[in-house]
């Protein structure tokens, strides 16, 4: 069993009448990339702010590296790298100066600091922009600068709060590859996002939050096993009689169907040859069909089924 790096126990945070965190608990182990997933307002950022002792909370306990986290836990903060949701750099300093400044808050040895700064610049690929001020950088480059400022001191625990918001696909890929590389070099990562595909690609373990509560936790496969859906079959059909659709719905392991006039969607739970059985029914009734897809459940399906709703403000 790997050592616990972050342990949140029964955390409660209220903003007046609103309960932002409702008895929230979490245990993150060393070497993990832990994804904190949830819609806007679910409590992800509040959790991170409590974790970093920026926010006071009403109840609960937070331990990092086995010690209680307080605002004056400087030895713990020394080992944490933070990449905030909002870019937090000095507009008046250049790229190189910003990274050197933030690295210098953790590393006092100037030689070591210079080396770490150079490595961070290379890591995020900002070598050509060292003398640029942040306002001259594109959104993607700015996010990369934000990350470099957060990881330059080589922390043991890296907390990334939605680091890819408003970032182009190329920069996003680079950021995700970078996070994976940091993890390979030994850092434990906490990654919050509402981009399902990112979390699915990156994280070894995931907690899904909604309304301040943890509603599911586990690896991707464990989460997928929690839901009823195991396969979704989609078939392009221009005309489908109701009795044929009912016959398909009555097949074993099929728990729901939907038809919108051009496409039949069949939701399966378990079973090994669902697609073949469905196509067999269509052939029996001489129903002509176009393209056929069979998809395994994604994290998005898990999220939708567990939370019972569509993602809110996706992509903001």
């Amino acid at each position: 069993m790997k050592q616990s790096v972050v342990k949140i126990d029964n955390l409660v945070k209220r903003y007046g009448e609103l309960v932002a965190l409702d008895h929230f608990s979490l245990d993150i182990h060393e070497g993990e990339i832990f994804g904190l997933l949830g819609p806007n307002g679910s409590g992800k950022t509040t959790t991170i702010n409590c974790l970093l002792s920026l926010l006071s909370f009403d109840k609960g306990d937070i331990q990092i590296f086995g010690r209680k986290m307080t605002p004056t836990s400087y030895d713990i903060k020394q080992q944490i790298g933070v990449i905030m949701q909002n870019v937090a750099v000095f507009d008046e300093l250049t790229v190189a100066e910003n990274i050197d400044y933030f690295c210098g808050l953790y590393i006092t040895d100037p030689v070591k600091r210079r080396q770490y700064t150079e490595e961070a610049v290379q890591f995020v690929g900002l070598e050509d922009f060292l003398r640029f001020r942040p306002k001259k950088l594109s959104g993607g480059l700015l996010r990369r600068l934000n990350i470099a400022c957060g990881i330059a001191h080589k922390p043991r625990l890296i907390i990334l709060d939605e680091p890819t918001v408003a970032v182009d696909p190329q920069s996003r890929n680079r950021i995700l590859e970078g996070i994976a590389a940091l993890n390979r070099s030994g850092a434990t990562v906490i990654y919050t996002s509402h981009y399902m595909e990112e979390v699915e690609q990156l994280c070894t373990r995931i907690a899904i939050m909604d309304k301040g509560k943890k509603i599911a936790e586990g690896t991707k496969d464990e989460l997928k096993r929690m839901i009823r859906n195991t396969e979704t079959v989609t078939i392009e059909i221009l005309a489908l009689a109701d009795d044929i659709r009912a016959e398909i719905a009555a097949l074993p392991h099929i728990y729901d169907t939907a038809y919108d006039g051009s496409r039949l969607t069949v939701f399966c739970s378990g079973g090994k040859h669902n697609l073949i059985r469905i196509l067999h029914v269509l052939q029996e009734h001489s129903v002509s069909f176009g393209r056929v897809y069979s998809e395994l459940p994604t994290l998005n399906d898990v999220f939708l089924e567990i939370t019972g709703k569509a993602l809110r403000d996706k992509g903001d």
Binding site: L54, L55, S56, M84, F102, L105
Partner: protein, 376 residues
Amino acid sequence: MFLHNLKYELLTALRTKDMLLWIILFPLILATLFQIAFGSIYEQNTKFSVIPAAVVSGPDNENFRLAAERVSDSGEPLLRITDTDEETALGLLKNGEVYGIFYTDTPVTLTVSGKGIHQSILKTFAERYNATAAVLRETAASDPQRIPAVLEAISAEVTACTELPVTEGNPDPYIQFFHNLIAMVALFGTTTGLHICTQNQANLSALGARKCCSPTRRSVSIAASLTASYLAHTVCMVICVSFQAFVLGVDFGSKLPLVYLAAVLAGCMGVTMGFFVGSIGRVSTDTKTGIVTAVTMTLCFLSGLMIGNIKAVIAAKAPWFNRINPAAIISDCFYCLNLYSDYARFREKICMMLLYTLLFAVLGICMTRRRKYASI
């Protein structure tokens, strides 16, 4: 850690465009406009200059000319005499080229146009000449042997009063506008002070939150920010005073080093005042900036930046306000330094500034030392 923070906080402060525009360039432009508007008023209205006058020859011409030459050729000439005929003299008077026309009859008569100090001086000169001439004529008629003694007595200057200068400094009342301008620049430091709070509090900016996540103690971070702001504002104050003193030629008296000292302390007070305001509540930085700018300009207005005699009006109606108005304290500091030869009042104003600085710093630190926030 302190020096690392200080280095970058100072770089940030010096590169802030708002500082360059509002705390350096704007006051320089304003000072230049003040110099154009007020620079020569005092000299023109108050300082003495040679009085041009015309002389129309008459029977007593020779004696009057001797007397007039005596006051015109001295080290500090009183008159510039033009000998001419009456018609030309009247033309000169009409055109304003002379203030009066002396007719060297017995007694000498004077024609002037209008009233003024120059006309009064010409009248006094004519009266004094006529009185002296009358005494000499009477002496010549009654006892001619006494004429040398009478001449000696007339020539001897008897001074019953001792002339003491009001001040060794610059008596120009318009210098108060420059004093108030320095006060304004000092109080513009409030915006710099506000910036310190914004960038060090997690609930006011992302940068503040980011700094709070680092292992740097809050006290170290704030101390570095305050020191950097003091240094940056000191540069602004030195530029402001130097520009006025050496480029515009504003006369701050003989105690220029103390003017610099007062300006630097005033700047520190302004920065600390902004730090204090910034630490109050969760109002947005833009709103706070608007508030401190409005308050600063109002305080400067009430200390006489826009209307010269408003401070005197307040001194008559509500003297306590001038004693607590930071802008008035700063401008009074320069005023005392310029006018008074002793330093008692200057020290009093400096102590007030130091007290304000200390008070604002302690209150600001007390309010920002809280490390956790109920909301961000």
